[in-house]
Amino acid sequence: MQTFRGIVAMLVAMCLAMPTPSFAANHREAPITALDRAADITDWYAFVSYDDGSKVTFILNVDGLQDPGNGPTYFPFDPDIVYSMKVDNNNDAVEDVTFEFRFQTEIRAPGVFTSYVGAGSGITAPGNAPAALDGTAQAGKPVVPPAVTSLDGAGSAGLNLRQNYTVTMVQGTGATAVRTDLTGGQKLFVVPANIGSRTMPNYAALFKQGIYSLGNGVRVFAGTVDDPFYIDLGGTFDSLNLRGMFTSGVTGVLTAAQDSNDTANIAPDSVAGSNVNSIAIEVPISMLVQGGKKLPATDPHATIGTWGATYRPRVTVRTAPDETQSPTPDGTYRQVQRMGNPLINELIIGVGSKDRFSMSQPKDDAQFASFALDPVLARVLNAIYGIAIPAPPRKDLLPLVTYAPPIAAVGTPPGPVSDLLRLNTGVNPTAKASRSRLGLLAGDAAGFPNGRRPSDDVVDISLRAVAGVLAGAPFNGFPYNALGDGVNVNDNTLGETFPYEAPANSGLRVLVPPPAAPAPTPPKNLGSYDCVRNPNSCT
């Protein structure tokens, strides 16, 4: 705990680089994305690759909360959408490097009723199969193709609906942007949903086949995966009716033992068992930062600002093509959503501004500052739990608005207020054994809010930040530093190598009902915490 306090003190002293106030991933957080799930960004991750400190991995997850068995079409990427990953490397909150992903769909057997089918080495019609409508005998003719064992060629016949994609790197913006096709002539196939053991008997192998090296040290992956996010959605959005009582004696407050256990959940993970569509790219840091090489963490140019965005073609007021507009999405496409830090839009931005936020550019985020300076969520915590909260304006909560220490090096130009997920590329990855779900708050310098890894518990971090843990005394101690939803880890083991996620859950998997939990109890006033740390003292 002393370490934690030290980190807090450092954060406060070094000022504005705060964890984003947020609770959950951005699943359907705004009206427009609630209506457009294919373009709905659920999570955005950016981190130095665990196994190669010279590279950064970006992951853009969309179309969340997929039921793994939801056939026959499952959840393909939308070919009308441009999926973008953006990097600002000169502190102006405008993208300098963008990676665009565009998808195409093939329907390979249009008469078949489902997108994926296969079994064993294929099944032919039996002897008692009736003749076809035209009288042709069917016995012995292939009916079910062999099980799907490959994304292309032999073993791929059962991929009736198959998608491939292109990757384009865009340097700069507007009409002068330089666009480079990164695919190098390769056909990149999407890893489909995990239909089940009959259709896809070795899904893990398919998952691996979906990892492509594009040259220049770039690797990509696109496909359906297990959703790495974890949260008690139900408890969180039932007006913070967090499950419990935890053994701490109070809902929403973890005991020291619970808090320090990054491998066990004491509340249901609402995302468990569900899948999400994921696009990942691993890129040498040299392609991202100014100067073209990895820089030490103390270098002002080492920190980049990142965000993901989705676009659809737009109908414009003017009918004539506007030659001044960029051919890239920012000109001829409308932005459906963007995401930097987790859940800014979900829990900070007011309902009447969520779409505007989704569709605005980070460089213009000053218009939304009022939401962060006096967040309603903090007042809800104050009202429901009775805990004191810092008085507005909550500058401690300005959500990663600038390039500032402790993420960015001292001397880094702060840039405009903007919701970017900032990543100091000079900070080496934390070894698995030392990694903490609480990231920077727990002294794990490679974790959120210095970038974000799939394992980072942004719910607990954000809950604590909103409550005031970064505002200095008296908010930087207990109970502020023990708040949590009781979900500390993803249900599936996340990968330690690119793309750092787990293969999709099988369609045969029965979504496990949440573990039985005691009914929520009225929260106690958190002013008295002796019983929390020493339950035996409770009366």
């Binding site: 737009r314 007021v317 003017r318 009918t319 004539a320 409308r334 932005q335 009447g352 501004s353 505007r356």
Partner: protein, 380 residues
Amino acid sequence: MKLQITTFVLFAGSALLGQTPSIVSKTAAEIRIDQAKTAIQQNPKKGDGYAALANALLRRELETSDPKYRREAEAAIEKALGTEPDHFEALKARTMILLRDHEYSKAQELARKLNKRTPDDVPTYGLVAEASVALGDYKEAEEAVQWMLDMRPGNLPAYLEGATLREMFGEVDGARDFLSQAYQRVRPEEAQERASILLRLSHLALLNNNPVSADRLVEQARKLFPAYPAATLQLARVRMAQKNYAEAADLFRLVNTIAPRTEYLFYLADALEKGGNVQEASGIFAEFEKKAIAESELADNANRELIRYYLDGSKNVPDGLRLAKREASVRHDSYTLDLYAWGLYASGRKAEAKTQSDRAVTVGLRDPDVLAHAKIIASN
């Protein structure tokens, strides 16, 4: 034709008195008025019912062109704001009233505030756009409409506002496309709204020198929503384009009977004059001038027509220029700038006229009068 017109007068008149021949059924606005009144009875201390009533009354005004509904709407808004001072829908309705009262700057200011308060409310962007178009702030209007199109692709208000802008930008076919899209999105029971779109399409057909199509579209509108004063007005314009001045005059006279407005007198007199009935035209012009001068200082005025009256034929160039200059100091839309340029030209200030005319046409508007003025000014 006289007989037809007379029949139409009787029909329209009886409809306005609630004695529509054949099937009498309530319009969409009337149904909404009833619903709002019920809501008020159920929750008299809530602003929602009053705001809904205001909106329904404003809709009724569109159906009838009767401004009394606007004043009733204003009263309903007062009640809504009396119970809930920040009631969003009531404030939006107030913005609509400001627009109809030609209080464009006030409307723009209020619409901007509402937009800032709730940026995700798509119709509010439409209010910003309407006020901005009227004031000539086309860039702001375009940005607002683009937000509408981006936020909710395919939404009806965006297509309607977008059509206005496309027309202003000279993209008549594009405007027609937007209106066609809009028409398909209006629910069938919203007869007046569908009819109003047909009238706008008719207007665009005239801009494309296609009076036959314009005529057909008006007839469709009249069938869809009988006794629609706006349809009568558009039909009169079509007749003018067809050089059927006698019938146009009848129609202008009719619409001025149903929903009197000073500018209609100008159009009526113009039709009479062009039709050779100079004596009657002269009398109507005189009546028009008197009324237009009386309301000239009001926000809702007939200054544009009065300026035209003064400038065309050089009846009173100094007053025409004075009025045009004053109008241009308030708003800088293409129509206003064109009249200002025309006044300057008529006064012999040709260089200044060229400057203002260029400003008027640079937006792209393809209005025949504006273009004709610009051509004359440019050639001198």
